[in-house]
């Protein structure tokens, strides 16, 4: 989503956001009952199908503005926040949840 508002002739305000949710899973596997079972069984195969689960949510939000001093000189600033939430279980790479914040500001000159 991108929203822009020309507050005045010289000032434009901006707001943006995005969301990406990804999920993937296997159906539970119906394992056959073996003819013989061992006495000590600390591990079962009940959650075997969850090993390959994918469950990520990425959120991005940003605000910014452009101020035009004159037709060929402007100043813009933008601040954005990115966040990833990992609910897949972390079997292979661990918990990959993380976020970062970035702010950039600068001046544009046209000639």
């Amino acid at each position: 989503m991108n929203l822009a508002y020309n507050a005045t002739e010289k000032l434009t305000l901006m707001l943006n956001g995005a969301m990406n949710a990804s999920e993937g899973s296997l159906d539970p596997v119906e394992m056959p009952v073996p003819e013989e079972t061992i006495e000590h069984l600390d591990y079962t195969l009940d959650e075997m199908d969850t090993y390959s689960n994918i469950d990520y949510t990425i959120l991005k939000g940003g605000v910014g503005f452009i101020y035009r001093f004159m037709s060929n000189l402007s100043w813009n600033t933008e601040a954005s926040y990115y966040d990833l939430k990992d609910d897949s279980g972390g079997y292979v790479y661990g918990d990959e949840s993380g976020s970062y914040f970035v702010v950039s500001t600068g001046v544009r000159v046209d000639f």
């Binding site: 020309n6 661990g94 993380g98 600068g106 544009r108």
Partner: protein, 575 residues
């Protein structure tokens, strides 16, 4: 890095020279847009996934964006450059001088983060009925503590064309590409002498690819143009090989029986290099032609390439040819016909294996030598015919039909062949009513005979009832399970349907909608007892709203659903 900076300097000097040409050219004009500023970044928790293509740092950096566009009499130049931090930068330069010279240079660099595989799932050991430790186990070990894996990628691409003799259209072409990846990555090795033990360690990554092309084109007699290209590519790793220690061969519980365990493995109590990159050179030649008239056009090419791995003398040869024909049958109907044929052959490799269980009771058989034929070996051909018809001023209909044949050599056995035939048909209708609305609908049907199938067998019968020791061997061994495998399997379909619907609608001068739906369904109907199906469903919706000159809103939603059904197999030890 030095070579990359050299390329950047060449590019900057080239542009400076071009600027001088522009400035000296009567009627020259240049527009420059320069953005100068800075950026601050702050990461929290695990940054490698969310910042996969970023340099992860909590600091501020200068930032630059530069756009230059210059025009002169019969010429123009364009430069777009950016630098977001000291590892993310790029520049794209173009220059055109009438029809006599064109040059393109692209330079890019970025950092890519790599994850660290924990191998935490390698953590189990069987327990005997008496409660003691059994022999079957999974374990893991990271030889380096958690390492920050990433690599920096630098690339330069340049292509130049120069018209040397306008009367006969004689043109020279030169192009070069360089890609460098430098950093560190995680390498793993699994020893399976007496236990399944995974080890990982860090390894330097230093890969370089150079590709160069020179060519020429000439129009000896109109409307025929012929050309020739020669290309060379070199890929090499500059990093030292990484070695892992393979466990000594012995019983996993009591540590004895070294002779028996050692007789079944190739590496024991030794170091071996793992994950060695090849060093390849590829040489290619292509002859091409183009003949175009007012209503017809025919173009084609014939190519040959040979790729060799300098580390082991294996090679791969590809012969290919393409032909494209188009004709205007009437003011409302155009016809296109394309064909391509490719033949690929890679070196066969003979594995001379040691005798099986040499020196042990019932052992010494020389039964595992074999020829490994490359799965790339094949003859491939494809032909398509398409007709585009203007049904009316607003509607366009496109119909396409095609055939694809793949003949694989030396599969499933050496000196045998398998063939796959695919037939497809496609129809697409587009309707547009000015700027008010547009619709398009497309349907594609694919029918495949004998899709690629794994003949090894996915399942195994119960071995205890069928397998017996061979000769005077004391036990049944794992390799004997190859004889009780069954069920050839493929996950490829024999029939596939694709639907693609799109539309856009201008509600009024302030609101515009666009929507689409892509669906795909396929199945393999060769199997009676096994289900092989895939389906996907992808709708999307977009809205643009501009209620007045001050406000604008662009928003959209995309959903992607994929489902696959197929057989799986799980290992169940029965002894």
């Amino acid at each position: 890095m030095k070579r990359f900076m050299y390329a950047v300097k060449v590019a900057v000097v080239s542009f400076a020279l071009a600027s001088i040409v522009f400035c000296g050219n009567a009627g020259a004009a240049m527009d420059v847009s320069l953005w100068l500023g800075g950026q601050y970044t702050d990461y929290s928790d695990y940054g490698k996934k969310i910042g996969e293509f970023n340099d992860i740092y909590d600091d501020g950096y200068p930032k630059v964006n530069l756009d230059l566009f210059g025009t002169g009499e019969n010429m123009y130049g364009d430069v777009d450059g950016y630098m977001h931090d000291f590892r993310t930068a790029g520049v794209d330069m173009k220059m055109r001088v009438a029809n006599k010279f064109s040059g393109d240079i692209q330079v890019q660099m970025f950092r890519r983060q790599l994850p660290f595989n924990l191998y935490d799932d390698f953590n189990a050991r069987e327990m005997t009925a008496s409660g003691g430790a059994g022999g079957k186990m999974l374990s893991h070990e990271a030889l380096d503590s958690i390492y920050d894996y990433h690599y920096d990628r630098y690339s330069t691409e340049s292509e130049f064309e120069m018209l040397l003799a306008e009367k006969i259209g004689f043109k020279m072409i030169a192009a070069h590409q360089m890609i460098v990846a430098k950093g560190h990555e995680q390498k793993a090795a699994v020893t399976h002498c007496f236990s399944c033990h995974a080890q990982t360690r860090s390894a330097e990554k230093s890969l370089t690819t150079h590709t160069a092309k020179v060519g020429a084109e000439v129009t000896p007699i109109k409307p025929l143009t012929v050309g020739y290209d020669f290309s060379y590519r070199k890929f090499k790793s500059g990093a030292d090989d990484v070695s892992f220690y393979y466990d000594p061969a012995k019983h996993p519980v009591h540590g004895g029986a070294a002779g028996e365990f050692g007789s079944r493995v190739l590496f024991a109590d030794t170091y071996a290099a793992v994950g060695v990159y090849p060093e390849t050179e590829k040489i290619g030649s292509k002859v091409k032609f183009l003949a175009s008239g007012e209503k017809h056009a025919l173009n084609g090419s014939f190519s040959y390439s040979r790729t060799e791995n300098d580390l082991n003398n294996l090679h791969n040869v590809v012969l290919g040819g393409t032909m494209k024909f188009s004709t205007v049958l009437s003011p409302k109907v155009k016809l296109y016909a394309n064909g391509t044929v490719t033949k690929i052959h890679s070196s066969d490799l003979y594995y001379d294996m040691p005798p099986w269980r040499e020196g042990q009771q019932g052992g010494g058989q020389d039964i595992f030598n074999y020829y490994r034929a490359s799965s790339l070996d094949r003859l491939y051909g494809k032909g398509t015919v398409r007709a585009d018809m203007m049904v009316s001023q607003r509607a366009k209909l496109s119909l396409k039909a095609g055939y694809e044949h793949t003949r694989r050599y030396d599969y499933p056995e050496f000196d045998s062949e398998t063939a796959t035939n695919k037939y497809f048909g496609e129809g697409k209708l587009r309707y547009r009513k000015g700027l008010k609305y547009s619709l398009s609908a497309a349907y594609r049907l694919e029918v495949t005979e004998d899709p690629f199938t794994n003949y090894k067998g996915l399942f195994e019968l119960v071995g205890r009832e069928l397998l017996k020791p061979i000769g005077d061997a004391p036990l049944v061994y794992y390799y004997q399970r190859e004889y009780i495998k069954y069920q050839t399997i493929t996950t490829l379909p024999t029939i596939k349907h694709d639907i693609d619907l799109r539309g856009s609608y201008m509600v009024n001068q302030k609101v515009r909608l666009n929507a689409g739906l892509k669906m795909s369904m396929d199945e393999n109907d060769d199997y009676d007892e096994i289900t092989v199906e895939h389906s996907s469903f992808r709708p999307n919706l977009g809205v643009t709203v501009m209620p007045d000159p001050r406000w604008s809103l662009v928003t959209g939603y995309t959903y992607n659903y994929n489902k696959s059904t197929g057989p799986i197999t799980v290992a169940m030890f029965d002894g």
